[in-house]
């Protein structure tokens, strides 16, 4: 056995990645340790043999799709959807669009009936919660979901409740889930029976919840994934919970009530799978439908970002 020797350095040594001193120490060890010397020679021989295979030629011509390459997508404002209420639309246009430039929408907004936005937040992870290994999450440089793209958004949407740094890692929604299989991500975890999947040809969006109906005040775990069909890259998007249409008396006053605090801020994972959380407003009325909304990039030939929603009902 060579596990107590320098086996861990074989590959780096083969690649010439060891620094001068490290390489000298490595060579000294090999000179004294026949087991390591033999094992290193075998690894090198195997890698050399692989390298000797040489190149192959593509045997047939590549056929490209008709038309021109898809031109770079231009971001557009989402059309107002009356059923969402004014606040949500404001939040989307102010904050979401900036984040869509980086791939996917970036804020979590909770509305309540006849009110518009109550508050917003973004997903984060509990430190040490085991949901994601260190360094496993890529936060896009473009846009900044944590600050909601500046003052315009702050003015329209109350700031989220501060989360103690000791409890939660940095805001990470949307985030690329590195080393996550696209095929696995496309399947909601066990128990998430209420789900929808939409593939527009370039991006697959999956949304799932553990039930189709929830009582007011209930925290809802949302399994949401945006998958780049080309690269297989998997993203954890943020999600919106969009409520019924805002009534004529809705507005800032109603939105200011704190009883339905949006809380996609807890340590978020179900069975090790990261999810986003929102809370059904406490003032939601039984029988009303809410929509969990996630956005992906716009698809081929489309001018609007792909938008997928999943309905839940208030019990």
């Amino acid at each position: 056995m060579v596990s107590d020797h320098v086996e861990g350095l074989f590959s780096a040594a083969y690649d010439g990645e060891l620094s001068g001193d490290a390489r000298a120490a490595f060579d000294r060890h090999l000179a004294e340790c026949s087991a390591c010397a033999a094992a290193f020679a075998q690894l090198s021989t195997a890698a050399d043999a692989l390298r000797e295979l040489g190149p192959a030629r593509m045997p047939r011509p590549v056929r490209l799709p008709e038309g021109a390459p898809i031109p770079q997508r231009r971001l557009v404002r989402l059309p107002a959807r009356p059923s969402w209420g004014r606040g949500l639309v404001a939040g989307l246009t102010a904050a979401g669009m900036v984040a869509v430039a980086g791939g996917i929408a970036a804020v979590v907004i909770v509305t309540r009936p006849n009110s518009g936005v109550v508050s917003r937040g973004s997903a984060s992870y509990a430190e040490g919660g085991g949901a994601l290994p260190a360094g496993a999450v890529n936060v896009p440089a473009a846009g900044n979901p944590a600050t909601c793209a500046g003052e315009a958004c702050s003015a329209a949407v109350p700031a989220p409740s501060p989360t103690p740094a000791s409890e939660h890692a940095s805001v990470t929604c949307p985030a690329e889930l590195q080393d996550t299989s696209a095929a696995a991500a496309a399947q909601p975890p066990a128990g998430f029976s209420n789900h929808v999947t939409q593939d527009n040809g370039t991006t697959t969006v999956v949304i799932a919840t553990q039930a189709a109906s929830f009582p007011p005040g209930q925290t809802v775990d949302i399994y949401a994934r945006v998958i780049d069909d080309a690269t297989g890259a998997v993203w954890l998007p943020c999600a919106y919970l969009a409520g019924p249409e805002a009534g004529p008396s809705s507005g800032a006053e109603a939105a200011g009530g704190g009883t339905t605090a949006a809380t996609p801020v807890a340590g978020l994972n179900v069975g090790g799978v990261p999810v986003v959380e929102v809370v059904v407003p406490k003032l939601a009325v039984s029988g009303e439908a809410y929509e969990v909304v996630v956005e992906g990039l716009s698809g081929v030939g489309e001018v609007q970002p792909q938008q997928v929603s999943l309905s839940i009902e208030v019990t």
């Binding site: 030629r57 590549v62 360094g135």
Partner: protein
């Protein structure tokens, strides 16, 4: 014209600018796909699908090199093929085709060519016994000679993960080749 310039033209809708990218990378991607799948027909499909997806997804290429991005798309396509393969066994006749597509060294005599072929067969077979993620790692590194940084881009994993996968993959490959006299002429003594 370099990749970035071609990419800019593609983004402006210039179809002709995509063709040089295909010519530049198709053999490299095919070689990778052939080593990953062990099957020429599948490998050609992987390359075809890679460029089809790339053609449609150019806007998603941000902050990465064209080469690393194409490898990322190709690895994803190859992974899809790999998953299908677990349900549909490879046709052994297709493996024969794979051999003639490799380029033999014209300077070798008949015996040396036979030995080279035997050695190459052993490596190809050993490669296919590796778990997919390790096969990808060692192929990108030792066949396509991607840098660690390019691999991190292509696989969307941290640099440390790249290094550990390559290391593990080479160890597994060496173990898989233990019994091959063509690769290890003194294998019995060595092991």
């Amino acid at each position: 014209m370099d990749d970035e310039a071609l990419l800019d033209r593609c983004r402006r809708g210039d179809r002709d600018a995509f063709t040089p990218l295909v010519h530049r990378y198709q053999d490299e991607l095919y070689t990778m796909a052939l080593r990953l799948t062990g099957n020429p027909a599948d490998a050609a499909d992987v390359v075809q699908e890679t460029f089809t997806r790339a053609f449609r997804s150019l806007p998603k290429l941000r902050g990465a090199t064209v080469r690393a991005w194409l490898f990322r798309v190709a690895v994803n396509c190859a992974h899809d093929v790999h998953r299908q393969r677990t349900r549909r066994p490879a046709d052994p006749l297709e493996d024969e085709e794979g051999r003639v597509l490799d380029l033999p060294d014209p300077g070798l005599g008949p015996e040396a060519t036979a030995l080279q072929r035997e050695r190459a067969d052993a490596v190809r077979q050993a490669l296919l016994t590796l778990p997919h993620e390790f096969r990808v790692a060692v192929v990108l590194r030792d066949v396509n000679e991607l840098s660690y940084e390019e691999m991190a881009e292509a696989l969307s994993v941290p640099l440390g993960t790249v290094k550990s996968r390559i290391s593990r993959a080479r160890t597994l490959l060496a173990v898989a080749l233990r019994g091959s006299a063509a690769v290890f002429p003194t294998a019995e003594e060595a092991w």
